[in-house]
């Protein structure tokens, strides 16, 4: 069980953003976190790689309290891809090496997995579209071969076809044993999930397989 949350809460400047979260994230499963805007979905992802620290409750990774892990090692095992893509270098090839310089790699394979052509390897990052940037950020994360991939609105900058590539990739990753936790308002992701957490105003409103839920996001 990659993650187990027991009565987890998080405050910002004294105001609870998350409270009483009891949930598990299954190994090799696609877990989708959904709910209205401002429900605390992105904050929940940030708790899982320790970009934020819970104010209450118990948060465990592989059965051990999260804070017992070396935080830098943890962030290589549990990689978060933010909603808004931020490219950190001048070239596509260099971008894939930010998190793991000096290691052997299959750059073309990484691009292919996120639906980007190999020709981009010789390009600079300056001319990339928003959707290409988002996919490159995902490829950069995959280069670390994470055990858990945290995706915040992975298809927000993508058109329908590219969004489907992302969903297919998530399913491929989970089939290979990688756990994926995605914040999404996209119904396709909610329907394709193994498990869904519905957050509402910082609390867990529903939790279970998609077919058991009352909540479904608006159609994209």
């Amino acid at each position: 069980m990659p993650f187990s949350m027991t009565d987890v809460g998080f405050d910002r400047q004294g105001t609870p953003l998350l409270d009483g979260i009891d949930a598990d994230v299954g190994q090799g499963r696609l877990t989708v976190v959904t709910g209205p805007s401002g429900a605390g979905k992105s904050t929940l992802l940030r708790l899982l790689n320790r970009l934020a620290e819970p104010a209450r409750g118990r948060l465990a990774f592989q059965g051990r309290p999260l804070h017992e892990f070396d935080v830098l090692t943890l962030r290589r095992r549990v990689v978060l891809v933010a909603q808004h893509p931020v490219l950190l270098t001048d070239s596509v090839a260099a971008e894939l090496r930010v998190g793991r310089p000096g290691l052997g790699r299959d750059d073309a394979g990484l691009l292919d997995r996120v639906g980007l052509p190999e020709e981009l390897l010789s390009r600079t990052t300056a001319g990339l579209s928003g959707g290409q940037s988002q996919r490159l950020c995902l490829a950069r994360a995959l280069a670390l071969q994470p055990e858990v991939l945290l995706l915040d609105e992975p298809t927000s900058a993508l058109d329908g076809a590219a969004a489907q590539v992302m969903l297919d990739l998530a399913r491929t990753l989970t089939a290979a044993g990688t756990s994926v936790v995605a914040v999404s308002h996209d119904r396709r992701w909610v329907r394709a999930a193994d498990s869904v957490l519905v957050l509402d105003r910082g609390r867990l409103a529903e939790h279970g397989p998609p077919q058991t839920l009352d909540y479904l996001p608006e159609e994209p």
Binding site: N49, R50, L51, A52, H67, L72, R75, R76, G99
Partner: protein, 253 residues
């Protein structure tokens, strides 16, 4: 031969202030009171400083001079820290950085006499303060504007130092540019203050130049040490032990 102006000559110079006030009044710049106040305040402040320095030179000796410079360091640290407020412990960072000039004073370039320690120390403190101020402003701006990029690096398992390195380098470079530019054009655009003062006091130009070169080199060294140390220390205050950027604090007014 010195050509020191008498107090009568100083009084005569108020004609320039009167000219400025008259012009400001005629053009309705709404600065008449400000000009008078600034002129009066400058005269009073300088007279007070001159009187205190007279006492320091005559009575306090080297310990008193070092105490004077120490007070300037603390004050400069407060001013620089104020510019970086919103950063955790900014004042401490600034004070610690400006204190590095003590090292430069200790190497013995400055003659250990009050007449050298106070004015040269003041120039170095001032340069260090500007470097610390610029560094802290740049670090603050990086934290405010580059937070997504910094967090993107943290999310890839980079340490706080690695994630912040591009921004600390940029901040230090920006802080150093004024001192480097000043050194490049010194004497070409205008004669620097120390050299001007010495020449007016009757010192031979080549002797004045030696003082000025010492001042410029000290300023280059101090600003570099201050900028690098300030940005280096700032990364420890900007991140917590879990390699997380601390939450943004109240923005600068």
């Amino acid at each position: 031969m010195t050509a020191a102006p008498s107090w009568g000559a100083v009084a005569l110079c108020t004609v320039f202030v009167a000219l400025a006030v008259a012009l400001a009044h005629a053009r309705r710049l709404a600065l008449t009171r400000e000009l008078v106040w600034a002129a009066a305040r400058a005269a009073l402040q300088l007279a007070a400083v001159g009187a205190v320095l007279g006492v320091v030179f005559a009575v306090a000796g080297v310990p008193g001079s070092l105490a004077w410079v120490g007070a300037m360091v603390v004050l400069a640290g407060q001013v620089a820290g104020y510019r970086g407020r919103g950063l955790h412990r900014a004042r401490l960072v600034a004070a610690g950085s400006t204190a590095t000039l003590t090292l430069l004073l200790a190497i013995g370039v400055i003659a250990p006499v009050p007449r050298a320690i106070v004015p040269l120390g003041g120039m170095v403190v001032s340069g260090a303060m500007q470097a610390a101020t610029l560094s802290l402003r740049q670090v603050r701006a990086a934290i405010d504007e580059a937070r997504p990029a910094i967090e993107a690096r943290l999310c890839l398992g980079l340490s706080a130092r690695q994630a912040f390195a591009p921004h600390t380098r940029a901040a230090a470079r920006t802080a150093l540019i004024p001192a480097i530019d000043a050194a490049k054009v010194v004497g070409l655009i205008s004669l620097p203050g120390a050299m001007t003062g010495l020449i007016l006091a009757g010192v031979a130009p080549l002797t004045a130049v030696r003082y000025q070169i010492i001042v410029m080199y000290m300023l280059l060294g101090t600003t570099t040490v201050t900028a690098v140390l300030t940005t280096y220390l700032a990364q420890f205050t900007a991140f917590d032990a879990a390699h997380r950027l601390r939450p943004a604090q109240a923005p600068e007014e």
